[in-house]
């Protein structure tokens, strides 16, 4: 009995190490994913941007719904300043039918998304970034040919009430980068929906 438990515990800790993905300061990998308009999108398609607000998102998660208005506003505010939002859905539609590519198209139309909403078919980008939940934000800055991770975490410190927010983590990080500085808060946590992958 004891031996078995030890193995289980070891397995769990190994899984955790594997799931860690990108860290602040790492170079983020580019991707080529299908947008809701049918076109493929890569970071390299944006030669003039200063960086990106990459958000692992989906249709179904109540926390995403709570933040959707704020995600749309982030793009409106920061796309003209060189930091567009790029949303990625990595949920497996076989596990969550509401997060299928077709439903993504409907959802993006209904909410009038002005940013790309990409489908990570087969969950290939997810493990490279190590996103654990939705919404999970990665702020990237462009450094020559590289995309450097500057911030990982939540959008702000109050999912419930946008007007009661004290710290706008993502905005603060992007504002710092626009001012040529490093973000002071580089990692935050928030409750979210786990990203659903096939077992």
């Amino acid at each position: 009995m004891k031996k078995i438990t030890l193995v289980v515990t070891l397995l769990l800790s190994t899984m955790f190490v594997m799931a860690q993905g990108l860290k602040v300061g790492d170079a983020a990998p580019d991707f080529r994913l299908k947008n809701v308009d049918g076109k493929m999108v890569s970071l390299a398609d944006y030669p003039k941007t200063k960086g990106f607000i990459v958000i692992f998102s989906c249709n179904h998660c109540p926390y995403v719904k709570a933040y959707e208005g704020r995600i749309i506003e982030l793009h409106k505010k920061y796309e003209p300043l060189g930091f567009p939002v790029i949303a990625i859905n990595s949920n497996d539609p076989e596990v969550v039918p509401e997060d299928s590519y077709d439903k993504m198209i409907e959802h993006a139309k209904e909410k009038k998304f002005s940013f790309p909403y990409l489908f990570d078919q087969g969950q290939r980008i997810l493990p490279q970034y190590g996103a654990a939940r939705t919404p999970h934000v990665f702020v990237l800055s462009k450094q020559g040919m590289e995309y450097r991770v500057e911030y990982i975490g939540a959008i702000d410190d109050n999912y419930k009430d946008a007007s009661a927010v004290k710290e706008k983590y993502v905005e603060n990080a992007v504002n710092a980068l626009l001012a040529g500085k490093k973000p002071t808060v580089t990692e935050t946590k928030a409750v979210g929906c786990s990203i659903k992958v096939k077992k």
């Binding site: 009995m1 004891k2 078995i4 438990t5 289980v8 515990t9 769990l12 899984m15 955790f16 109540p62 709570a66 969550v96 654990a132 939940r133 975490g153 939540a154 410190d157 109050n158 999912y159 419930k160 009430d161 009661a164 004290k166 983590y169 935050t188 946590k189 928030a190 409750v191 979210g192 929906c193 786990s194 990203i195 659903k196």
Partner: protein, 134 residues
């Protein structure tokens, strides 16, 4: 909230972080009901920590619990500043649901994933057999 987590004695506390809107959480809920029955005579306490949105709770959490007639203890967390308290629960936790913390004194096991009944009871058994080991 903190007082719920800083109980120190030889009792094993099992905290499951869940919400009624989280499908894998609902799926594993019966595992905790089964385990609570199994450990009824042992020093093992279960606490289901709900992260349901406080708005509309009558139609989510309360509806669910009444329909299930569950004997598990349930608390609702209403503290939106999650960046502060997630790390206090366990630094390994990303914040994704479901998550389970098993604690006995300074001994903790943290699981960020749906639990499996067999694995879960083995982890708990290990602590019961020797609650003082690391």
């Amino acid at each position: 909230m903190e007082s719920l987590f800083l109980r120190g004695n030889d009792t094993i506390y099992i905290y499951n972080f869940w919400a009624t809107w989280c499908a894998p959480c609902i799926k594993e809920f019966p595992i905790f009901e089964r385990a609570a029955k199994f450990y009824a005579s042992k020093p093992v306490k279960f606490l289901m920590v709900s992260l349901d949105f406080p708005v509309g709770i009558d139609n989510s959490l309360i509806l669910f619990l009444e329909a299930r007639n569950s004997e598990l203890d349930v608390v609702l967390v209403d503290d939106p500043d999650q960046n502060i308290w997630i790390n206090k629960v366990n630094p390994q936790w990303s914040g994704a649901l479901p998550a389970t913390l098993i604690r006995c004194g300074k001994n903790t096991i943290f699981i960020e994933d749906p639990v499996d009944y067999e694995e879960h009871t083995q982890s708990v058994n290990k602590m019961i057999i020797n609650p003082k080991t690391k």
